[in-house]
Symmetry: C2
Subunit: 314 residues, 2 copies
Amino acid sequence: MKKIAIGIDIGGTNIELAWVKPDGSIIKNLSYKTADFPQVEMFVEEIGNAIISINKELSSFEITGIGIGAPNGNYFTGSIEFAPNLKWEGKIELAKLFEQKTNLKTQLTNDANAAAFAEKLFGRAKQMKNFLVVTLGTGLGSGIFVNGEMLYGSTGFAGELGHTTAIESGRKCGCGKKGCLETYASATGIVKTAKEFLALSKVNSLITETENFEAKDIFIAAQNGDKLAFETIKYTGEILGKSLADYVALFSPEAIFLTGGLAKAHSLLIPETEKAMNKNMLKIFKETVKILPSSLIEQNAGLLGAAALVMSNI
Amino acid sequence: MKKIAIGIDIGGTNIELAWVKPDGSIIKNLSYKTADFPQVEMFVEEIGNAIISINKELSSFEITGIGIGAPNGNYFTGSIEFAPNLKWEGKIELAKLFEQKTNLKTQLTNDANAAAFAEKLFGRAKQMKNFLVVTLGTGLGSGIFVNGEMLYGSTGFAGELGHTTAIESGRKCGCGKKGCLETYASATGIVKTAKEFLALSKVNSLITETENFEAKDIFIAAQNGDKLAFETIKYTGEILGKSLADYVALFSPEAIFLTGGLAKAHSLLIPETEKAMNKNMLKIFKETVKILPSSLIEQNAGLLGAAALVMSNI
C-alpha cells in the first residue's frame, strides 16, 4: 500500500492543507482563510472532518500522519505557543487536538522549520548536512540544519535568528527587545526603512506613488530605477549580510536559503546581502558558503515541509 | 585488555601529554614548553618517541589512539591551520604526522572543542545534549554541542563565538574585523577595558599597583573592594551576557560553561554575565539556561577532551 502524508501550513492569512506523496507531489489540496476560525476548536473540527472525509476517498493509500507548520510551533510539545499573528491565544496543544479528532499521528513545528524540512527533502538542500533557511516575511524566521538534523535546542525554540541583535539600541521589536534583525530584514522592516529614508530625502521617489506602500512596491520601484528604493534594499541587505556573517562563524553552513515574500526580490537583495556577508566574514569561511533562493514554489514549501514531519517513516 | 587513550593539549605556552583511562583518570603525564619546538618536525619526533617509549611501559593496556587539542585545529582535516599563537606557520597536518610516526590512529580538534568534549564525557554536561563551552583565555574560544554532537559545520570551523560582532565598529580584532566579542570578553580584552577606564578615571585604583597588570590583578583588586576593577568586570560581563543572550536564541542550550583563565573570577563575572544575559533574552528562553563554571580542573580539561576524541571506541 502506497504511503502518503498530510501537511497543514498555518499562516496569519491562509491555511493550506495537502495530501503529499514521498516525492513531494501533491495529490489533493484545500485552502482556508485563517480569519474564518477565531476559535481553534472550530478549526480542528472543520479541518479534521475534511481530513476524515478525504482520507476515505484516498483509501488506496496509507496515511502516515499529519504534519503541521505554524508560527511559534514547538516540535517538542506539539503546541503553538503565544503566536502574535494568530487569534488563538496562549498555548494551543494543536497536535494533540488533531490526534484526538482524526486518530492520526500528528507532529507540529514552526513554519520556518517546515520550510527548512522542505528544502532538505524536496529542494536544493538534499545533499547538504549544514544549512540555514531564512524566511523573510512579515517577520524573520529560520530553520537550521546541523549535522543533517534540525536544530531544536533544549527547548524546541532554537534558531531564532530574527531576534538576535542587529543594531545596538535599534528599532523596537515586538518581542520587547531593541534592534532585533527582524525589525530591519523583513517585509515590515524594509517598509520602515523606506519611510525613514523618504522622511530624510528631498527628492521624489516612485515608492510614494502607491498609498500605504508595501515591500513589493519598493522592489518594483527599484527595478524601475528608483534610487531611494534601491538604497532601501541595499541597506536591508547590508544589515542582513552582516548578521549572516556572524551566523556563518557560528554554524559554518554550506548554504543560506532566503525565502518568503521579501526574498522574491532576490535578484536585487541577494547580491547586496552577499556583498555585506563576505565583507564581514572571517577569512577561514570565505568562499565556503553561498546565499541561494529557494527552488521550491513558496506556497508549497511550508506545506511540503509540514508533511515531511511525518514522512521519515515512509 | 584494558583500553586507554593518549591526549595531547597544545597551548601557546605549554604542551601537555597524558595517558587517560575511559573514566578520565590519568595514568601518566608529561609536560613540555611550546617554545622548545620552533619546528613542528622536532615536536613530532620528540613527543612521538616519548609516546612509543611509554606505550612499551604500559603494554598491559591497549592504546586506542592519540587525540590532539590545538588552537585552530580542524577535526575534518586533522590540521592546525594558521594558528596565530603558534610558531608553526601555515597548515600543519599534525594528525597525519603523528600517525606516520607512531602508527596510532590520531584525531585532532581545536582546544575549545576539546574542552567541550571533556565537559560532556567527564564533567557536568554528561546528561546534556545541547550546551556551550566558552573558554575565556587570551582569546575567546567555544565548543558547541547540538543534539548530543559537536557542532563542526561544513568546514570544521563552526562555533567561532569569539568572532561574532559584540560592539558595532568596536575594538580592532586580530582577525581583521572590528568589535569581535573576544576583544572584550577575554584576558586581553578585560585588560584593555581596565586601561580605558583608568585613562578616563580620576580616582586611584589598586590595579595600577601592579606594573603591566594582567586579568588576574583586576580580579584581585575587585575582590579587595576596588571600584574601578569591579566596574571593569561588570562591563565585561555585560558585553558577554548580551552576546550569550543571542546565542541562546540560536542554540537554546541547557547550560553555558565558562572556563579558562578569565572564568576563574567566576564568583564576580558569572553573576554580572547572567544578569545581562537574562535582561537581553527572549521571553521563551527565560529560566531555561544557566551559566556554570566548569567542574574540571582547567589544566586537565583540554587533555581529557583531546583523549576523548579517540575514546568513543573504548
